[in-house]
Symmetry: C2
Subunit: 464 residues, 2 copies
């Protein structure tokens, strides 16, 4: 009973202020007290200006203490710390739906929690927000402080068991640039502006950030020889993507309509869909990329919830000269707030840079707001035939290149299909990735009315 009484005390002025400010927002972007930019945490590092993990974020991951024999368990980021949800459950500070939620976070994947649905996700997030605010009692702070683990002392695993992984192709800028390399006269295929193009990817080889990997070998064929050969990939690339984790699935044969699509989505993370361009060029016709993409895909440890992204929703528009979407891919709420303003960045750290203790260099920055198709359109399209999505299924957005130079989400674009190399600030040249290269993707959201939140990062290094 203690914790319920506590809850009531802290339903505070923020929610009133926000509901006045935001009356014209649709339910899709409904803000609540957890979004208030004025919230401050008793975990000091959560209040630092540049942190990815202020109290307004509260993303989920699966972790354990490094080199421990602990079981993996759920955690929520706050500043440079993680709330150990397995331990926090024991504090008796959670009740009702929040208790159901935290009880589902004790295992080695978040699937059980993700299957519980948005009311439960929201209840646990709200309760964690309340307990982490600086105006909570000292007694609570002490209880919860014992559940904190420094992020630099943990190892992460995949946040959930991923059933199927689907990769889309939602950046028209990426599709156009890549298309122009193969078809200068006709860069964009006729279906692109009608169909959120996607294909099935490989789930087994998705790994969490920090998993380095050997340069893959595969079958490739140069234009100047008659026969292909097996050998190490010479055109190894990264792809700057976001991925959405499905929370609640749908039954086979029952499509998800556009306006309820995001109710099924749990949250978003960063995705590097490493690609072997020379293997891809030789294998991909007629059935699409296969081995060129299945050797590894890396995700960030943290899932930023759809709810945490609410303050960064934006209008979605389609140019008047472009075909407008078919009815199943269009709605008022899509137009109102279907897009999300997520800044994305690619960094490269070469072996020379590490030896010289130089920082990684930025190769590109982009923004998911430029995506031609939204998350809800991806979900509605994916299920329109009756295809079922399941808890833990993962949908990649495809490479998020922007309209401008400096916004290219892959080396294939940076090097014009490998035709010209580009220079790094230390004088090194690249067309594709070299051995020892570490690629780091970052993402974050900010605007004038909300507290900045971040996605952390996903990184991986190419081993010879």
């Amino acid at each position: 009973m203690f914790n319920y009484a506590y809850c009531v005390l802290f339903i505070n002025v923020y929610s009133v202020v926000i509901s006045i400010l935001m009356v014209d927002r649709t339910t899709m972007t409904a803000l609540n007290e957890t979004h208030s930019p004025d919230l401050i945490s008793w975990v000091d590092t959560a209040n630092a200006p540049g942190t990815d993990f202020p109290i307004q974020n509260l993303p989920f991951a699966i972790f354990r203490r490094q080199e421990s024999s602990e079981f993996f368990r759920g955690g929520v980021a706050i500043g440079d710390q993680i709330v150990d949800l397995l331990k926090a459950k024991e504090t008796d500070l959670f009740g009702g739906l929040a208790l159901s939620g935290i009880e589902a976070c004790g295992g080695d994947s978040l699937n059980a929690f993700m299957a519980l649905g948005k009311e439960c996700w929201s209840a646990l997030r709200l309760r964690l927000s309340q307990l982490l605010r600086n105006d909570i009692s000292e007694e609570v702070k002490q209880l919860l402080a014992e559940c904190l683990v420094p992020q630099d002392q943990v190892e992460f695993s995949l946040p959930c068991s991923i059933g199927d992984y689907t990769d889309f192709y939602t950046s028209i800028h990426h599709a156009t640039t890549v298309g122009s390399l193969f078809r200068p006269d006709n860069p964009l295929l006729p279906n692109y502006k009608w169909v959120p193009i996607g294909y099935h990817g490989r789930a087994s080889s998705i790994v969490v950030s920090g998993n380095d990997f050997a340069r893959p070998s595969g079958q490739t064929k140069s234009a100047d020889v008659e026969a292909p050969a097996l050998g190490p990939c010479k055109r190894l690339d990264y792809e700057l993507e976001l991925g959405v984790y499905m929370g609640v699935g749908n039954d086979l044969g029952t499509p998800i309509d556009l306006d309820s699509a995001e109710d099924h989505a749990f949250g978003v993370s960063l995705l590097n869909d490493w690609s072997a361009r020379d293997i891809q060029a030789w294998e991909y016709q007629p059935l699409g990329p296969f081995l060129s993409k299945n050797f590894i895909s890396s995700v960030s440890p943290w899932i930023v919830t759809m709810e945490a992204l609410a303050p960064f929703r934006a209008n979605w528009t389609r140019d008047a000269e472009d075909p407008q979407p078919l009815a199943y891919l269009d709605s008022d709420s899509l137009r109102d707030a279907g897009a999300i303003d997520i800044k994305l960045e690619v960094y490269l750290e070469t072996e020379q840079m590490r030896e010289a203790s130089s920082p990684a260099v930025q190769l590109a920055e982009s923004n998911f707001i430029q995506s031609y198709w939204t998350l809800s359109q991806m979900i509605a399209h994916h299920t329109v035939t009756g295809c079922n999505l399941r808890t833990g299924d993962f949908l990649g957005t495809g490479t998020q290149s922007g309209a401008s130079e400096g916004e290219t989400g892959s080396m294939l674009e940076l090097s014009s299909g490998g035709k010209k190399s580009f220079s790094l600030p230390n004088g090194e040249q690249r067309t594709f990735l070299a051995d020892g290269d570490k690629v780091i993707l970052k993402g974050w959201c900010s605007n004038s009315s909300a507290r900045r939140i971040g996605f952390g990062e996903v990184s991986g290094t190419v081993i010879p």
Copy 2:
């Protein structure tokens, strides 16, 4: 101790005879006493000439009694019966590896058993073979008879939890015919004879035989209109395939070499990879089929083990005028016995036929022995980049069309891309599937020196 003593008694003359007959076979096709065509079971229906499930087969499935509240559990087919492995485990007739195996078959998927590896699979299969022979004691017959359930009184589920589903394209006849519909001058792409072409399919929508399904809707575009539209698929098709279930996986980054590839494979089943050809035509470029294949795929309940298929292995050859495979896809044991002689059949039962109580009509027969690429080549190629396969992963062979007329594994081929309809014996016309059509795939193996074994069937009906 009782059961071990029992085992020793029944290591009988068959194994000696067979080892003399088969000395020139490689280990890949090693036969053992379970393969002897002379074995007879005390389950009478297993001795009927046409049965799919003689004592030489012993395929695995997951089942429960119809309309019961039982948990699903593992079973092995014998004649028209199933050995309930959950119940059989309690008989104390199993020991050693066979006991480890049967203990892993008590749950609602075979994954735990499939992960144990070929020695364990073989030990359980041998023990079941011994216990089901007609020369076993009356006491054993009585004990095991209580574990039998008639197949017509059960419902099946998927035999295992499928992680990733990959579909290959191994029939050069299918690839050539389909290619010629799109590119009359250049039907086969240059990579086909070098690369076992495959792509990632959808695992979530794989269902077991008997699951009927609604005609899917999707986006299609006719050549004579400017804009696509959403509507029911007008070119619904089946695909005659086999699928192989992976038993023991490989670590990410560690390819499986050709000669050990089949040690990782647990067994084979029938697969109907239903396809929406009009959705496919509009969506598939540049990343391959997606919604056109993800609405449903049907598998037969039974997994016929690789061991049961050993008597039907055949030489694998590559025409001298064709390029020979690269080294990672070629070996002596592949040449010796890489192919498998599996007869395949497609039947169609229309609503009119059902109303007239007419039997289903055969649309095609084919044989997996004609496949351009073998199961071991599929596995070796899939993992050459380091891609990891996991227990329960499923690899489709692609549509198994043969060289001759009457061997076409899809309606797309039967109707020349939908350009001409064909007649059924009752006068009905088809170009693609009509509502109410039921498609039934069957498969079986036979030769002069072995007992015929079958795969059962996979069926599904299109609901309007």
